[in-house]
Symmetry: C2
Subunit: 543 residues, 2 copies
């Protein structure tokens, strides 16, 4: 049996586009003598459609598209992901399904059993879990067809009570097909491959896995669709971070392929570039702007954006104030020289002065401090938004994960923007990105990498005035955010108790800021955004 793996990028809700892409690949697969062509989970509508699933009209759009696609399945079968209606009165109204299309019609509909409802996933919000297990059959071959999470209940501390493949294997299928929408994080490629390999090993039959690729606001899908033979060896692996299409013959498997072996930082880089690129493409924007401070965060965002959008499409705005050092401006200009991208200089001193004069009377007898620093940051935000509005570009936010975590940033100031490019990248990882970007030639000037981080909102300010060293800070944040350890557990690791309490309190009390921050490109297993949901009003750990 010749199985075509079609790893495509879908646009949520764009039925016309998604349907055409699927039909094109069915025609291609047929021309290459494939027996069956496999598309990813919820491919018909894009993943995640979220509450659009609550609109009957949206479900109708999915069904009509599936029927249109079925009409092209003549002499070839296709597996397409889409929602389907639950015919029973009890339970949720929908299933998350795989449509098995052949002979110009819907031959079978297989439903997802295990519905991920954690981190960024909300599937039980929409779908009823499957409880019936039946293999599909095509050209005399029995196939165990499952959807994404259905293959994941095989490790310690399983999340679910049921294991779908344990049920299906009793019907003696000859191969497994799994369609997925499994988003990237820097640990996930390895974990996913292990889970898939464990399945191929446990059940001893070939496994074909087709994943979604592309970015949907915060979620980045890395692709990496893959085929295992019955010895659990990888015989075919599709591209990462790009659309791809391959045909695998189960009668004549290729030789096992070697693991690609990515470095973590390379993966993060590729994911961020894809994330930026697709956010713009899918919103119909070409041009980005960003505030260029001469610091490392804005330099990295510029490098990433130039790679994603082309240097002519990324305009840096330098917004010097009276506290901006000469060094910073020179560093910014050096970076721009390297990237060969356009820039503008708009000093904010007059604006800040006018605002302070306007408020002078109200602020009499008060000491200048955070309020005045915020006024500078917000004046920059205001100018950046004005430039963005006037010239139809999207403002890229440059806040990193360490800053976002402790609330070291000004709401409506440097926290402005359409997309937080580094919002899931700790400061220490930002430096790693700089080294990675500079691996062949100096793109990020070394002076930017070596100088002490500063917000430059008052004379001689350094981040280290109010924050611990980032190496220490990031370790504590990692234990709290990624590992979900409480203060006692973190202190037990050897960190200073007062420091831990102070940092955890900063994280919790800045929840209100993150609530209003731009969507964050997710590259870690626990990113700020829809995968981390905490109350704004709470007192846990505050004391």
């Amino acid at each position: 049996m010749r199985v075509a793996l079609a790893q495509l990028d879908y646009h949520i809700g764009n039925f016309e586009l998604n349907t055409q892409k699927i039909i094109d690949k069915i025609i291609l697969a047929k021309s290459k003598k494939a027996d069956i062509v496999v598309f990813s989970e919820l491919s018909i509508c894009g993943y995640p459609p979220r509450d659009f699933l609550e609109f009957n009209d949206f479900i109708r759009g999915c069904t009509e598209s599936i029927l249109k696609i079925a009409s092209y399945c003549d002499g070839i079968a296709a597996i397409v992901g889409g929602p389907s209606l639950n015919p029973k009165r009890e339970g949720k109204d929908l299933f998350n399904s795989a449509y098995f299309l052949a002979d110009k019609g819907i031959k079978d509909i297989i439903h997802k059993t295990l519905l991920p409802t954690y981190d960024v996933f909300d599937e039980y919000r929409y779908f009823e879990p499957n409880t019936v297990f039946e293999c599909i059959e095509y050209k005399g071959v029995k196939i165990a067809l499952t959807i994404c999470e259905d293959l994941w209940n095989i490790n310690d501390n399983p999340l679910y009570v049921i294991c779908p493949m344990d049920e299906l294997i009793q019907q003696k299928p000859e191969l497994m097909i799994n369609i997925a929408a499994s988003p990237f994080d820097y640990k996930h490629i390895e974990e996913r491959k292990k889970a898939l390999r464990d399945n191929a090993e446990k059940y001893g039959i070939p496994l074909f896995y087709v994943n979604h690729v592309g970015a949907q606001t915060e979620l980045i899908f890395d692709g990496g669709s893959v085929a295992f033979n019955s010895k659990a060896e990888v015989v075919n692996e599709l591209k990462y971070f790009a659309e791809d299409f391959n045909i695998v013959d189960t009668e004549d498997f290729d030789e096992p392929v070697l693991d690609f072996g990515f470095s973590t930082i390379e993966l993060i880089y590729d994911a961020l570039v894809l994330g930026i690129k697709e956010y713009f493409a899918k919103l119909g924007f070409k041009k980005a702007i960003l505030g260029m401070s001469g610091g490392i965060d804005s330099a990295i965002v510029l490098a990433l954006a130039v790679d994603a959008l082309g240097k002519e499409n990324v305009t840096s705005i330098l917004l010097p104030s009276k506290y901006s050092s000469e060094g910073s401006v020179n560093d910014a200009l050096a970076m721009l020289q390297n990237s060969q991208s356009p820039y503008e200089i708009i000093p904010i001193e007059n604006i800040v002065d006018t605002i302070e004069q306007t408020l002078h009377e109200k602020f009499e007898h008060t000491t200048p401090g955070l309020t005045e620093e915020n006024i500078q940051a917000r004046s920059r935000g205001l100018i950046l938004m004005a430039m963005s509005n006037k010239f139809g570009s999207i403002l890229l936010n440059t806040t990193n994960k360490s800053e976002a975590a402790v609330g070291y940033g000004t709401l409506y100031g440097d926290m402005c923007g359409g997309l937080a490019v580094l919002g899931d990248v700790y400061k220490t990882q930002v430096y790693e990105l700089a080294r990675y970007i500079n691996r062949q030639e100096e793109i990020i000037p070394s002076s930017i990498i070596t100088k002490a981080p500063s917000a430059e909102l008052r004379p001689d300010q350094k981040d280290s005035d109010s924050l611990p060293d980032y190496t220490m800070l990031d370790k504590i944040l990692f234990e709290y955010i990624e590992q979900r350890k409480g203060p006692h557990e973190i202190i037990a690791l050897g960190f200073d108790a007062i420091l831990v309490q102070r940092i955890l309190k900063m994280v919790n009390t800045s929840e209100y800021k993150r609530h209003q921050m731009p969507p964050v490109l997710r590259v870690s297993p626990k990113a700020f955004g829809s995968g981390r949901r905490l109350p704004i009003v709470a007192t846990y750990l505050h004391t």
Copy 2:
């Protein structure tokens, strides 16, 4: 049996406070010869704790508090809501449980079966559903103890396959107790009472229901705990929007009480006042500021805030520009005269001029338009935030639901603030609120109610220049947002096709703005915020 209903307000994660409140009421109930005292769902940690439930340390805090409370249960029993660990290897790690405490220990732990995972609820994200049904017994009385949603599977199109009370009734309990955290919306009091009454009727035994009261950021819990006799008559009803405590004797039920009969607008008013009050109290703030334009939205927010926080704690900031009409300033001053609350006037003309001069060169050969309007709105936002930062107050946002829906507002401008008071109140409902507030004396000046709405960002601007009449707009928005109808269904109701398409497109393409808006006080069954989750990058309905 004498059952005490303890309807309390809990602070999420504040174990010390919550535990003390519960112990105080156990002591009170005992002094009043109650046999058993009932607290609401997840009372030990407050509802919703969200991802704090993923911290082992947080769960430990819950368990320790439960044990401390148990030590006070001597000669009296208590039912306290809290998470409990799932002893099984498979499935989620926690149950959402009711601890039955007596004889100074934990006598029984009953788990929730039906886990709401829709709208603002994410319970399956954290909890494993219960599958075992056992009544508890105390002083020879068999009690069917359930948790909130467990009583809700009794109508048409049930969301769940199981009905817990159908299982429990087979053990012939003599009464039902249900502990809940059921948030307010303007339709919910009636629906909830009906669901409870339907249960009392169906099972023919008394029902005691204890709900959470108080506000947790966006969610407002209205209380309204209630007791039904076996004839499904209400024999005791606790307060709405306030803590309360009553004892009901099952041997000697009181006479049935009449329904309070609220008006919708009265409920919304009370909910919003509680929402503001608690947001400030729980964050430890006393003072609010708001931008006072002379329009109806800011006038209503002022009236609500004065009721919630006291007139001396709400400072209005008038920020006139060259486009502000004399009428607006006078209307604002008339409103302030009525409310007797402090205000400041800070003209923004110089700031706007300086910004426009700064950008003059960059903006040469462009036509003034939306960018310039946004500069005004953001200058106001900047000043308001500076005042808020300097004097330690929270900025109240005045955006209404109609504006938030269509994106008629400036991000980082009038969309600034810590709490969106009217973000779930349509413009037509804002007018209803004005009439309600004025029911006894004129608090909102009639000139504010009767004039045409305007953002006053350019000469003679009216909302109706770019939006349809609010009566029409709100009807279409209601069909799309609350009713989740698609364009064809809405057009079929008789609305103009082009208008419907245009409005739906405005709603969808402004998702990115709502993503960054302050938390919205939820008063409807479908509010912006955690209960409505839509992709930012999507094209559904855009064409």
